[in-house]
């Protein structure tokens, strides 16, 4: 057991519920390192939705809440407005964030409320047995699309940019150090921060979509099929672009509310 894990994890809820080689554990690991290097353990609160990724904050010895399906962001918004001094991390999955909770997600991004949303994208509904998700690639065979997926996938990063998020990044579990730095930046950023993490699911996505059950080989697929932003070739759609997409300063939602409150009190 690492020293950091002893400091940040609830010992009585261990071991993890994740399958062997699941990327969720690596994301938890990176989050712990990011929080520890900033030294803001007491300021952090986490919420999570339903799905494998919903279990990530459950092991953290912080203020955490495991909420209903797709509604991790609304709960976090309420928490942020009632306790503005907290830095809130929301862990959601792809089906949770842009599937069932898509409307909550785009409106939280539009408001530019100070949340850090970490979306774990494993391309499939892993916990319930491998049904197709909004991010499942075209023509991929899953349990609910045995002749190939006929729907085009959602791009969470482009959706966040279009909705007005002020910090948007995408990394994979192979790029673990960059992910840690990105979580650190997002925690310090004032405004809606969105990080998409491509994560391996060796059990469901590995068996059905990637045809590769070994977690390390799935991480190699992420390494070979991604290209850093700014280095991509024009017109080449075959590789997934990773990196930092947006990092801009805009007025945050709770500051608007504080201004309105001050105006009302003055008049």
């Amino acid at each position: 057991m690492q020293e950091l894990a002893e400091k940040y994890l609830r010992r009585n809820s261990l071991p993890f519920i994740f399958c062997p080689g699941c990327g969720d554990g690596q994301i938890l690991n990176a989050t712990i390192r990011a929080i520890d290097s900033l030294g803001i353990k007491d300021k952090i609160a986490c919420t999570s939705g339903i799905g494998c990724s919903g279990w990530i904050p459950v092991y953290l010895d912080l203020d955490v809440m495991h909420t209903v399906h797709g509604r991790a962001i609304p709960v976090a918004e309420g928490l942020k407005l009632s306790a503005p001094e907290k830095d809130i991390i929301v862990f959601t999955g792809d089906g949770d964030c842009i599937g069932i909770g898509g409307n909550h997600f785009i409106h939280a991004a539009r408001r530019n409320i100070d949340l850090t949303v970490v979306m774990v994208n494993n391309y499939i509904y892993g916990m319930t047995g491998g049904q197709k998700a909004p991010t499942t690639p075209l023509k991929a065979k899953t349990k609910t699309s045995p002749y190939g997926n006929e729907e085009r996938p959602f791009d969470g990063v482009q959706l966040a940019i279009a909705s007005g998020a002020t910090y948007v990044a995408r990394w994979s579990t192979y790029h673990i150090q960059q992910l840690e730095n990105s979580i650190k930046k997002a925690l310090l950023h004032e405004g809606f921060s969105f990080i998409e993490v491509l994560s391996q699911c060796p059990v469901q996505a590995g068996r059905n979509i990637f045809k590769e059950k070994d977690p390390w080989k799935m991480m190699q697929i992420f390494k070979n099929n991604t290209v850093l932003k700014g280095k991509e070739k024009k017109g080449d759609q075959s590789k997934i672009v990773i990196g930092e997409f947006v990092n801009k300063e805009e007025k945050e939602y709770s500051q608007y509310l504080a201004d309105i409150r001050r105006e009302i009190n003055e008049n």
Partner: protein
């Protein structure tokens, strides 16, 4: 220098075996109490303390104990 792998939490995914630049980890063939195939360490003196195994471990169970004195 000591590399501890916590048998209680390791699930034998094998990521540490591939991620180590000095090939210190290898599959031992032994099973832990929970039934997972455990990795073991060989030639620990080659370790350069890069910390990649600690960072990539999904079960947060590898601990590289550094014996260098902090200045």
């Amino acid at each position: 220098m000591k590399i501890n792998i916590d048998e209680q939490y390791c699930q034998g995914c094998g990521i540490c075996i591939h991620v180590c630049p000095k090939n210190i980890f290898q599959l031992s063939g032994k099973r832990s109490k929970r039934g997972y195939l455990m990795p073991e360490t060989v030639n620990e003196e080659n370790c350069i303390e890069c910390g990649l195994c600690e960072k990539y471990c999904p079960d947060i169970c590898i601990n590289v104990v550094k014996d260098r004195v902090k200045k």
